[in-house]
């Protein structure tokens, strides 16, 4: 008769653990000094851009000495010092300091972009929220969006008859689309979960919008704003070249007529730096509102 082999096993004897060598004494490592850390940061973050800049200027110097026409970095810098030493002079209605030119351009951008935001944000919301509306607007947006900003200028000049409103119109119509499309995308991307929270709470339409829909769309909205400002700044220089008056674009064109290439180069840098500052401001705003 086979005995069932199922036994209750005896508890295992406790075997003493083998002796281990004493742990090694930890070597004291001094914390890296603040100076050392700063030095590391300079090496990784400061050095490459500086080297890049030096390389660019060196290339520029080489090209200018080879071509003979292009002003050298040194000469351009001297002229830049002159230009910026008196930025707010006024010699005539069309001859003013660089400071005034920058401010006038910014003013036009501000108005055009402001109008685009005022109209574009609600429009974007409606397109994102109401499918019928989005389908209705889709062909119009698809056709108008790829149109070059400067193609809008003649219409603006014809309707408004003056340079200033025409320029603002061009900025408005060019910077409208990023705001509209990004806001609409933001609305469609609102997770159904957040909407469900609003539904369970049975919020009034206004509360639903202000507490749930709008905060959820803000990141997309700010992306649209950032793209929009970039487009607006790009367009103003081109538009001003064609319309004249006071502004960076007109100044560039005027300097071209005077064959003052150094001034044009300086203007290019100014346009770039101001554009960069505008974008950084919006990025700072976006970071403050991000979650």
């Amino acid at each position: 008769m086979s005995v069932v082999q199922i036994k209750k096993s005896a508890p295992a004897a406790i075997v003493p653990a083998p002796a281990v060598a004493p742990p090694p004494v930890p070597i004291a490592i001094a914390a890296p000094s603040r100076l050392h850390e700063f030095g590391q940061w300079c090496q990784s973050h400061l050095l490459p851009p500086v080297l890049g800049l030096i390389g660019f200027i060196a290339l520029w110097a080489m090209v200018s000495s080879a071509s003979g026409d292009l002003p050298s970095p040194a000469k351009t810098f001297k002229t830049a010092v002159e230009v910026f030493s008196d930025p707010f002079y006024v010699k005539g209605p069309n001859d003013q300091g660089i400071g005034w030119n920058i401010l006038k351009s910014l003013e036009r951008v501000g108005m055009g972009f402001g109008l685009a935001a005022l109209i574009g944000i609600p429009l974007g919301f409606m397109i994102g929220y109401f499918t019928f509306f989005s389908r209705a607007m889709a062909p119009i947006i698809s056709i108008l969006r790829p149109v070059s900003p400067l193609a809008w200028l003649p219409i603006g000049l014809y309707v408004f008859k003056q340079a200033q409103p025409a320029a603002i119109w061009v900025i408005f119509i060019s910077s409208l689309w990023p705001i509209v499309l990004n806001t609409a995308a933001g609305v469609t991307q609102i997770p159904q979960d957040y909407r469900n929270v609003g539904r369970v709470l049975d919020l009034s339409p206004w509360k639903l919008f202000s507490r749930i829909l709008f905060p959820a769309v803000v990141p997309y909205l700010l992306t649209g704003v950032r793209l929009s400002i970039g487009v607006a700044w790009l367009v103003i220089v081109a538009a001003e070249m064609l319309t004249g008056g006071v502004g960076l674009g007109f100044w560039i064109w005027d300097q071209w007529n005077n064959l003052s290439i150094q001034h044009i180069i300086i203007a290019i840098f100014v346009v770039g730096v101001v554009g960069l500052l505008l974008e950084q401001m919006i990025l700072l705003l976006a970071r403050r509102f991000s979650y």
Partner: protein, 343 residues
């Protein structure tokens, strides 16, 4: 107990791109005040759809849904929902998230101080008073889920609807939170509907369990009824492990594969007998109801699960952890005749 939620002959059909999909078929369920009902089933069985119908987030294709004597017309804070992925609004702090709900329900009748007190009380209830100022991205998944529960409770709902609240959490956290939810809801005496695919959760938490399969209700009963008296094969297989063995019954005795016969109160003829792993014990092969050899064994800490190959079938036995199981060993199995089922 008063009937609070009545679900009568509810059908739910979705029109999808690939045709009509019947999510729910003829569901009937009554939930009483203060009752805790768990709805359990596979993914896609319709349990979340049923919850969304009670919440009012969906409207049924046909049938009636009544809560508190009135037809459910839409969502509302009286049937607060705890969502599967907490859906805390990320731009508000924990306090802000709960305050939004409190303001909606009580804002018209109470002043700011009272609303703040309610919010703090709700957060305190789930043990998160210290994290009120924190934002959702700064807290863990378990904490987020607790804030979701606090938000739902702060609305003082008549029914609390929980849609798989613990599914997204890890096992240990799930166990802890399950106990917290149980004690909390029992102390509040709140009516609750809890959807889960984890049968352990459903059995531990529910006063009654609704087992669903492909849009149909298979069985409604207490945890014990579901476990010991499954009404259908699906329920028997879905809840826990169920062993099956074929046998022949004659004149009140059942014989399984030629072993010792045992008393049988069911029908005569060929039967398939069902029994739980706890209702079978090891014994000498000679006197056993059925013999087999050990195919595998799993040590689970507090017990050992042994898979025995017997009469061409696998029988799972749960035994004391101290049993020393040897592979391919020939063993005898003794069944408890009072715990046999036949469906």
């Amino acid at each position: 107990m008063d009937k609070f939620v009545q679900i009568e002959s509810v059908h739910m059909v979705f029109n999808t791109r690939s045709g009509r999909f019947a999510a729910l078929e003829n569901v009937n369920l009554t939930i009483h005040e203060g009752e805790f009902v768990s709805i359990i089933g596979h993914s896609g069985c319709g349990k979340s759809t049923l919850l969304n119908l009670v919440a009012g987030l969906l409207a049924p294709t046909s049938g009636a849904l009544i809560a508190g004597g009135r037809e459910i017309a839409g969502p509302g804070p009286d049937r607060a929902v705890v969502f599967q992925n907490h859906s805390l609004l990320p731009w508000l702090s924990c306090f802000g998230n709960v305050y939004l709900a409190v303001d909606r329900v009580f804002g018209k009748t109470e002043n700011r101080m009272a609303l703040r007190r309610r919010t703090n009380a709700a957060l305190d209830l789930v043990g998160l008073a210290h994290a009120a100022h924190k934002y959702p991205h700064e807290i863990s998944g378990g904490m987020k889920q607790r804030v979701g529960i606090a938000r739902a409770l702060a609305m003082q709902p008549r029914v609390l609807l929980l849609d798989e609240p613990l599914t997204a959490l890890d096992a240990k956290l799930r166990d802890n939170l399950r106990i917290e939810i149980d004690t909390l809801l029992r102390s509040l005496g709140i009516t609750a509907v809890y959807v889960t695919h984890d049968q352990g959760e459903a059995m531990a938490l529910g006063d009654r369990i609704v087992v669903m399969n492909r849009g149909k209700v298979e069985q409604i009963g207490s945890p014990r009824e579901i476990y010991f008296e499954p009404a259908t094969r699906f329920v028997a297989d879905f809840i826990g492990t169920m062993n099956r063995l074929p046998g022949v019954a004659a004149k009140g005795r059942l014989s399984l594969n030629g072993g010792t016969d045992l008393p049988w109160s069911g029908a005569d003829g060929l039967v398939e007998v069902l029994f739980r792993p706890q209702d079978v014990t090891f014994c000498e092969p000679g006197a056993a109801h059925v013999t087999g050899s050990v195919r595998a064994s799993f040590f689970l800490g507090d017990r050992v699960r042994v898979v025995i190959a017997a009469a061409g079938h696998d029988v799972v036995v749960e035994a004391d952890a101290r049993h020393n199981i040897v592979l391919d060993q020939v063993v005898g199995l003794e069944l408890n005749p009072e715990r046999l089922l036949s469906l």
